[in-house]
Each structure stands twice: as C-alpha cells, then as structure tokens.
C-alpha cells in the first residue's frame, strides 16, 4: 500500500445562479486502494472538522451500475480510466499530483451545487418516448417471441447505458446523441419496440433539441469516454430511425 499527498483544484459554486470558481485544497495520507469517491469523502470529513462547507458531488451505488457519479477529472469525464468515477481508484494517480475536479459542463446540465449537476433533461428525453407503453401483463415465456442472438446482444449492449451523461461532458458540442441513440436503439431493434418506433424517434430527438444539447460532429469522443462502451454505431442508427420516421410517420 502506498499513501500519497495531493493538491485538489475543485469547482465550488454555492447554487445554480452563483458564479463558481476553482478552489485549491491539499489532502494527505490518501491510500492508493481507495476509490476516487472515498478520497472525496476523506476531503469532506476534513472540511467538516474545520467547520467548512463540504464539497457536493453525486453518487449512489458506488459499484458502477447506477450512473449517478460524475466529475470531470483532469479534463476527462470519470477520470483517466474508461470507467465510472466510483470505480476509479487512487492508484491511477501519483504522490504529489494536482487533480482538477470539475462538474459536467453543458447548458442542459445546470450546476445545482459544486460538482452536482441537474441531469433531469435526460429524464425528459426518456419521457418523450424511451419506453414501451403496451400493457405487458404477466411475463411471457422467454421463447414466445423469437429474437436472433445477434440482435438480442446488440439491443442489450445499447441497453447497458446507465444515463451518466459522460458522453455529453466529453463532447466538444455537449451533444447528448450517444445517450439518446442508445435509448432509441435498445427498443428499435426489438419486436416489442416496433409499435411506437416512429413516435419514439421523433419525440426523443425533438426533446433532445429542446433541452439545448449540441449536434453531433462524429468526433467519437463520447464513445471513447463512455464507461459502458456504447458505440457510435447507435448514433448512425438513430439518424436512420429519425429520417425513416420523418418520412413515414403520420405526424404531419
């Protein structure tokens, strides 16, 4: 086990309307087996002991499945590894490092406080069509609807998106297209998703635009930073879904 001393430059912003700034903190005796969030917990305990305001950041499961944790660490969403911040360990850093910690930056993700941003734009996009609204009744026999293995796998891959927003944070245009395309794809490929296929693509894209996310330049930054390895093939599929829907739906 190694311990390390670090300098942290952390974005502090008391509320949405306030102007924030980077503040510098020193922290010592950090164990390299700690997760990044545990390091943040140690910092907050120190701050509380001194009677200072602890740093607010999002977290929940701390096992890489919920998508709550965020943070742009030294200029990369979720830090130097392609994983969630809760699964990032301090062994990725060295004694004496300076670490910049900033919130996801996007107009559609306003800062609530410090490093916590409001990601309800994603919820509203989901509400605009990211579901199947037929009454499903009791669970069907698994083989009642035949689905090819390749399609099932591909739909499953799209469905592993945890809605963390790292794709938006990584994109130079703060575009949400990786997220939206994964959510459109996971249903567009399956028989259950067909009934509302057109409505879904049109509704979700319209909501995405209304939230103020940017457009896609196909740089691939989202896919490179996504902790769930969602592929930009989903974005190409979304383009097909959307154009197909626009050309064939009855919504004039």
């Amino acid at each position: 086990m190694n311990t390390m001393n670090l300098t942290l430059k952390i974005w502090r912003q008391p509320n949405t309307a306030a102007k924030g700034e980077l503040k510098t903190y020193s922290i010592s005796g950090i164990n390299d087996h700690m997760s990044f969030l545990e390091m943040m917990d140690v910092l907050n305990e120190n701050l509380q002991k001194k009677g200072e305001d602890p740093v607010v950041f999002d977290h929940d499961c701390r096992e890489g499945i919920c998508g709550a944790c965020s943070l742009v660490i030294n200029g990369r969403p979720h830090g130097p590894q392609q994983t969630t911040t809760c699964q990032l360990h301090m062994r990725s850093f060295k004694d004496g490092d300076t670490i910049y910690i900033e919130p996801w930056r996007a107009k559609a993700f306003p800062v609530i406080k410090d490093l916590m941003v409001n990601r309800s734009a994603f919820d509203r996009i989901q509400h605009a069509g990211g579901y199947v609204s037929v009454n499903t009744g009791s669970a069907q026999d698994a083989n009642a609807i035949p689905i090819g293995k390749e399609i099932a796998d591909e739909a499953f891959n799209s469905a592993t998106c945890i809605g963390c927003g790292a794709c938006v944070a990584a994109c130079k245009n703060a575009s949400a297209m990786l997220f939206v395309s994964a959510k459109i794809s996971q249903l567009a490929m399956l028989p259950q998703g067909q009934a509302e296929r057109n409505r879904r693509a049109e509704g979700m894209v319209a909501q995405m635009d209304q939230e103020g996310f940017g457009a896609c330049t196909n740089t691939g930054a989202c896919e490179a930073e996504c902790p769930k390895q969602i592929s930009i093939s989903n974005i190409a599929r979304m383009n097909r879904e959307y154009l197909g829907a626009k050309l064939s739906s009855n919504a004039v």
Partner: protein
Amino acid sequence: MSWITNTLTSTLGRKLSMSLTGLFLVSFLIVHLSGNFLLYKGDGGEAFNLYSNFMSTNGLIRVLEIGLLLGFGIHIWTASILTRMNSAARPIGYAVQKTHEKVSWFSRNMGLSGSIVLFFLIVHLINFWFPYHYQEMPMVDIEGKPYKDMYGLVARIFHDEWWYSVLYLIALLLLGFHLQHGFASAFRTLGLDHKKYNSIIEGIGNIISIILPLGFATMPVYFWFFHTV
C-alpha cells in the same frame, strides 16, 4: 411548422444538409480537378481555353453553377448555425480539457479548416471567376475565332503572385484535413454504418483527402518551376 421545415431545422436535419451538400461539393471538386488537368495538355492552353469557354457559356453548366452556389451557400450557412448552436450548448468551458487520443484533431476543427477554405474560395473567385466574367480579358485566336485567354491568366497569377500560390497550398492542406474527417462523417450522418463497408468508406475518404489536394497542388508548382510565361 410543417413536417419538412420541422425536420430540416432539427439538429439531425441540419446535419443531413451538411452531409448532402458536403458530398455534393466533393463531387464538384472531382469535376473541377479533372477539367483543370487540361492545363497540362502542352498545346499552349488551347484546350483549356475552349473548356473555359464551354463552362461559362453552356446552358446546362450555367444551371449546375446555380446548384453549386446553393450547395456552398447551404453548407456554409448550416455550418455557421451548427457551430453557434454547439458552442451555446456549453456556455462555461472546462479549466482543463484532455481530448482522448482516439479523437482526431481534424474532427474537432472542421469549422477552422472550413473557414480557411472559405477565405481562399473568395480570393479564388476574385482572381479567376470575376475577371473572366466581368472584366476585359486578353483574347487569343483558336482556329480563327477569338477566345478569352484563361490559360494566360492562370499562368500569370501562379507565376507572378507568389503569395497567391502560398495561400492556395495552405488552403489545399486544410481542405485535405476537412475531407479526412468530413467524407466518412457524412456517411455516418446519413445513417450508413456497417462493419462491412465502414473501413471502405474511411479508406476512400483518406484517399480523396490526399489525392484531391495533391492534384490541385500540382498547378501552382507547375507554373512556378516549369513554365515560363
């Protein structure tokens, strides 16, 4: 808003315009380059002057010229709207930003490469297109008929105006960067993505992003070094 304007003003619709006009402009570059190779025919510019005359008098070509103007107009107009929308989507930037090594510099700077190409384009039109159409040009006789001497103009500018040739080469380099990302990107925007042909499209993109600028670049070099006016 009707469904058509609604589609065309969405982010995906604007990207569709970018992609279709971008690919149309690529096809124009190919035609333009092929025609320009007549400069090398070694006939004192006869074929090139006949070609220039044909391009500026043939009715069909004049109609296509309007299409070309629209293509450029829509591409540039949409690029400026998208660029503004994209920067508005992140009003506060990062203090530190580290771009993933998989993300190419070309792909992040399409606006820069495009703008330099645009600047060149304007200078290019002022130098060649404008005098040909609207100014007194020296004439040459070809088979007893007078023609405007476009060949002489090209030879003179490339030979005498060294700054123009330098700008020309820089713009071509940037055009290559623009197409290195733009060509493959346009197909993704159209929704074309498949493991069977992704690498073929990228390969063609890489080839044209080298061949097209290189082809055009031979012209100032030829008139600089090998041609005396």
